[in-house]
């Protein structure tokens, strides 16, 4: 167990190193930071002096090592716009994004499993055909279009849901404000969650259906039938567990992807999360904030993937973490 964990952590560190390198390399190519920092009236001599002081004339390696050293101590630079540490800015926005991703995940898990199972068990029924048809539509329409359409229909035409913002939130802990404590908070998070789930949900319905159909063709399912086992037990005990094993792996990667997708959803719904913040940072050429965002999102990716691998090992009896060495 320990060896496996250690191996996964070392892998994660290696991935983070590459991400930080890429993020830092981008920084050097986003234009001259001084242009954003000082006014036009500052003379070229002063500019040079400032560059020296900020270390911008040092070699790439020296600059990267300084950046990495600071990053390890939790210092990802200071946002030009907010004049605050970039990490703090992101951490303030993080809860909103994570709650949105959580809402979308609930929708995806809650609907994809039953729909995937149903369409696999009854592939020829009319309802299955409708679900499969809709899933193609869902995958094909871009998130921002789905979001705008939903705002138009449910906010503007019917007025059932608010169209922007988080609404009433309740302070929980640290920076964490939650949407899930008030009715208004719930109303605000429903549309953005659906929009964010609109691509992943059909994808997962199709994935679960395909896996389930394959499993239902397997010898062990045929054997379970030959033993006279109740069909419901065959579907939910024999088949579902085997179906979900590959789905867990894909799902873990997709949670990371969803954090990135929030950029679109948050922008359309003016959701005060870090995706929306990132887009604003790009507009303002707030380089430290952009770099910090990339690193934080990369970190979330790495952490979720590592956790998913561990869960997979616990769920799949053929992967024995406890006995697995390096």
């Amino acid at each position: 167990m320990f060896a496996y964990l250690a191996k996964r952590v070392i892998q994660a560190i290696a991935v983070m190193f590459v991400i930080s390198l890429i993020a830092f390399a981008i920084q050097g190519n986003l234009g001259d930071p001084l242009r954003e920092l000082v006014g036009q009236s500052v003379s070229e001599e002063v500019r040079q002096q400032l560059r020296d002081e900020m270390g911008l004339n040092d070699s790439f390696v020296t600059q990267y090592l300084r950046f990495a050293g600071n990053a390890l101590q939790g210092d990802l630079g200071t946002s030009y716009f907010f004049k605050e540490p970039a990490l703090d800015v992101i951490l303030k926005k993080l809860p909103a994004t994570l709650e949105l991703v959580f809402g979308a995940t609930l929708i995806i898990v809650g609907f994809s499993v039953p729909l995937g199972i149903y369409t696999a068990i009854k592939p020829d029924s009319i309802l299955s055909r409708i679900i499969m048809g809709l899933s193609i539509v869902g995958i094909s329409i871009p998130v921002f279009l789905t979001a705008i359409l939903m705002i138009f229909v449910f906010s503007v035409e019917y007025g059932w849901f608010p169209s922007y913002g988080r609404g009433d939130t309740v302070h929980v802990w640290g920076y964490w404000e939650t949407n899930f404590a008030t009715a208004d908070g719930w109303m605000h998070i429903i549309l953005p969650s659906i929009a964010l789930a609109s691509i992943m949900l059909p994808l997962f319905v199709r994935l679960i259906r395909a896996e389930m159909m394959e499993v239902l063709q397997s010898e062990y399912v045929k054997y379970a039938k030959a033993k006279g086992i109740n069909p419901w037990r065959i579907y939910f005990v024999h088949a579902l567990k085997n179906t979900l094993l590959p789905v867990i792996t894909v799902g873990g990667v997709q949670i990371g992807t969803m954090v990135a997708y929030t950029i679109l959803t948050e922008t359309v719904f003016q959701w005060p999360g870090m995706g929306f913040m990132f887009l604003e940072a790009v507009n303002r050429v707030d380089t430290p904030l952009i770099v910090a965002y990339l690193i934080v999102v990369g970190f979330i990716f790495v952490v979720t993937n590592t956790i998913v691998d561990l869960i997979y090992g616990l769920v799949n009896p053929t992967v024995n973490i406890a006995r697995m060495g390096a």
Binding site: Q217, S218, Y220, Y223, A226, K227, G228, N242, T318
Partner: protein, 331 residues
């Protein structure tokens, strides 16, 4: 009354552009505790016969007509509930490849206990005790520990023993074994067969053994059916069929055994291949490969009729015999 009585069973497969006949009106009987072998090449319809007996054909296969009377009740007419009561309880099946038969994510114990609890009102602990007894019967060492293990932790031979134990869990009247040792190591095959023979004899269980191994059939069974292209072409006591085969195809099969060949000589193969289901020739399906074939063979399907000790479906069986007699007389 026989335990199992199959009458004119016809199985078809609905393919995209045509419907092919996989089993063409087969009939046979099995007495209580009797052991029957079904032999033939791949694609002859042996496994389909086995699955049909449990009404377990999966799409696109279906039973088109015929009766399968098991303890007097027609399996073909049973509803889902009756079928579930039949499967695993009164009639059990042993699959071909033990590596893929057991569910990889459920423990041996879960897979045994669920079978017992599906058919009898038992507590989990009672079911566990029965499972342990049955595992002992198939000579599984330390059965209590095995129950906690997953299939991948056990060898192929061990898994097949467990599958045999599962087949015996509910003391069925009939076990259908579909090539139970084909996927196993040669050294283990004999052990498994011996175990099955012993258990069938001591428990008075009927056995239908589907195989292409004539050696196994002669060792394990009392009666044999030889199948070719979806029909039974020869049926009778195993000893007679092995020692004095009547149908040219059966003769070919037995001559093809390595034991029938002088070392150093080529094996005596039957020329050609068995036809696919979609292209079965008119008349006797074996006629293109048969050296005795006549115009009659090429136009009319031979009925299966009693000839001496066995039943044979061959127009030329009599001529064949008189030829042989003449040759023997000359020698």
């Amino acid at each position: 009354m026989s335990l199992l009585s199959v009458r004119d069973l016809t199985v078809k497969f609905a393919m995209r552009d045509q419907t092919v006949t996989a089993l063409n009106g087969i009939s046979f009987d099995l007495a209580k505790g009797e052991r029957l072998g079904i032999v033939g090449e791949s694609g002859a319809g042996k496994s389909i016969t086995g699955f049909s007996l449990m009404n377990l054909l999966s799409r696109p296969g279906y039973i088109d007509s015929g009766k399968i009377l098991f303890e007097g009740e027609d399996v073909v007419q049973m509803n889902d509930k009756r079928l579930r009561n039949l499967r695993g309880n009164r009639m059990a099946m042993i699959f071909q490849d033990p590596m893929v038969t057991l569910n990889p994510v459920l423990t041996i114990g879960q897979q045994m206990i669920e079978t017992l609890m599906a058919h009898r009102k038992l507590s989990r602990e009672e079911a566990r005790q029965i499972a342990i007894v049955k595992l002992r019967e198939v000579y599984i060492p330390s059965p209590e520990e095995r129950l906690e293990q997953y299939p991948h932790e056990l060898s192929g031979g061990m898994r097949q023993r467990i599958i045999i134990a599962i087949a015996l869990l509910l003391d069925p009247q009939l076990i259908i074994a579909d090539e139970p040792t084909t996927a196993l190591d040669v050294t283990i095959q004999a052990d498994i067969m011996e175990l099955m023979l012993e258990l069938c004899q001591s428990n008075q269980v009927g056995l239908i053994l589907i195989t292409h191994d004539l050696g196994v059939v002669s060792q394990m069974t009392e009666r044999t059916l030889v199948m070719y292209a979806g029909r039974i072409i020869e049926a009778g006591r195993t000893r007679e069929i092995i020692n004095d085969p009547q149908h040219p195809y059966t003769q070919g099969l037995i001559n093809a055994l390595p034991q029938q060949t002088v070392p150093g000589q080529r094996l005596k193969q039957i020329p050609g291949n068995m036809p696919g289901l979609a292209s079965i020739p008119a008349g006797c399906a074996f006629n293109p490969r048969c050296k005795y074939a006549t115009d009659l063979c090429r136009s009319r399907v031979p009925e299966i009729v009693q000839y001496g000790e066995v039943a044979v479906a061959c127009h030329e069986v009599q001529r064949l015999h008189s030829d042989e007699d003449r040759q023997e007389a000359r020698a």
